[in-house]
Symmetry: C2
Subunit: 326 residues, 2 copies
């Protein structure tokens, strides 16, 4: 069994092996197997987001297991749904893989999607997909959510006087990636054994390879009256600045509450940043990290401890890596 | 301007150039620019399908223009929505392209998406997306549709006595592909100039490179009482057999109505095949090509002029091509 490949058994047979492992969506009226799926949208609206993970710029096969890739593909999309204040309901997954990819790898990736959905968004399932052969392993997920009758929580609603709060880790995923680049590369190639060992010693390595953002806190933030919300995919500094600009305000963040400058600029946590009216009892695992003030003459911007913070950070260790060496 | 590349200007700047060219969706409550989009689903349900196009197995850059690729990515997904009896409302598009891809190429691809939506599904627009760097040009589209209160038209509803009908070309796309492989390949590499010339002489070449399936006929079929429907992506023989198996019936197709055996097995038309109760006034451009009978002792299957038709056809000229030579 373990030697079977996608190219060897073909797409139809591979799909037949994968689909039974995928989670069912409680919202599906028509699931996989017809030309399209049909989902319920009880309040007459639905939230949709799409995100692609590509071998080379987005992950190393020596470091990430297939299960990690399925889990992370779910997590990165679920967090965008959560950041609107919605409950994730379903995913569709388009997967392209080299012909030599083993069926076992595809099954483990499906298991990662299932386990990620069950852990982060119970009831959310995979309602459709596409499986193709490509020289570059590529996972494109589109995720849906239900606002349950509430207005979406946009980036543009932060108001002077609001509290800035974060739920989920800040900087852990970037720290994990730095650990991998520092300690699991041999002769410029990522090393699987070193990565496995590092992972047992540093939980931040798993925060990078298989993050578990606080998906349920998106809905709780909306219920608590969040005025703006964003998913921290590019680092708190950059994403908080996006909220400031969209809302036309200044966000002032406390460095001690965030932890460190490295945490401030580290991406890929997929944690949630939200603003709440002052005095709101912060829901779930949200904790205050700053506050919102009116934009001064300098315009909408991010402040750290009251001082302008312009750096993006933007450490991009994958730049120039093309996937050919792992 | 024309020398600018995706890698040179970066994803954010490239997106800023692309988005103004994309069609707006009349159904969008929240469009591109936040963590996710929000769409209306007036009857409390929505249709969703996803399909990926990959350089190598799915297209040749010497033959397809960027505009063709955008148009075809729209067409192949819109036809799956139409095959449920739904009206396409919106797309999300995840695009991965080599760093050396010019911004002009991306703009033309966006124009193809726009022109395809406007021609085939007016009001359907792009509500979100993702842009990444990859060594393999990959276009993943997810499309949504509105059933307008009707039940979806599944593959499983065909009943003995129904008429089998088709809307749109049968075999034209496969014929166009054969013309390209026969007449636009030089020393095993696809040739752009020969393809352009061929295209001016044979409309079937455009049926392959930028098909225009009869999207509006999906809704009309549902309104007329279609009992089953499918998008002809893999050829009439294979897709009609899928309807037969899903419905537990035999579909008997007339070869003279279809045209030829080549037409019977040729894929990628994305035309619609539907079954209607006998006596139905066929809507739109649907014409009868056969009828449905009870499955005999041999079970659900496809017949052609009363005789079993087992061949898939399955001419796969791309097999073994990897995109490195065009």
């Amino acid at each position: 069994m373990s030697g079977e490949t996608l190219g060897g058994i073909g797409e139809a047979a591979a799909l037949a092996r994968i689909f039974p492992r995928l989670p069912a969506a409680t919202r599906a009226i028509v699931g996989p197997g017809d030309d399209a799926a049909v989902l319920t949208a009880p309040d007459g609206r639905f939230v949709v987001t799409t995100d692609m993970m590509i071998h080379g710029p987005d992950f190393r096969l020596a470091w990430s297991t297939a299960h990690d890739l399925g889990w992370k593909a779910a997590a990165t999309n679920l967090s965008d749904v959560a950041a609107m204040g919605a409950v994730p309901t379903a995913l569709v997954v388009a997967l392209a893989a080299p012909a030599a990819t083993t069926v076992e790898f595809l099954e483990e990736l499906a298991d990662g999607l299932r386990d990620g959905c069950e852990a982060m968004a119970p009831g959310c399932g995979v309602v459709g997909g596409d499986l193709s052969v490509s020289s570059t392993l590529t996972i494109a997920v589109t995720a849906f959510g239900d606002l349950e009758g509430r207005p979406p929580v946009l980036r543009s609603g932060a108001r002077a006087g609001d509290v800035v709060a974060v739920s989920g880790p800040i900087g852990a995923a970037a720290h994990g990636l730095r650990l991998l680049f520092d300690g699991a590369v041999v002769e410029q190639a990522p090393d699987a054994e070193l990565a496995r060992t590092l992972r047992t010693k540093h939980p931040d390595v798993s925060a990078q390879l298989a993050p578990t953002p606080p998906i349920a806190d998106g809905r709780l933030a909306a219920l608590a009256g969040a005025t703006a919300m964003i998913d921290l995919s590019d680092g708190l500094a950059l994403d908080a600045r996006r909220v400031a600009v969209a809302s036309g305000v200044a966000l002032d963040v406390s460095l001690s509450a965030v932890g460190s400058t490295e945490a401030l600029v580290g991406g890929e946590d997929h944690s949630l940043l939200a603003t709440f009216p002052a005095g709101t009892a912060l829901p779930g695992t949200f904790r205050a990290v700053g506050n919102v003030s009116a934009a001064g003459p300098e315009g909408a911007r991010l402040l750290v401890d009251g001082h302008p913070f312009e750096a993006r950070g933007g450490w991009d260790p994958y730049e120039g890596w093309n996937g050919e060496n792992g």
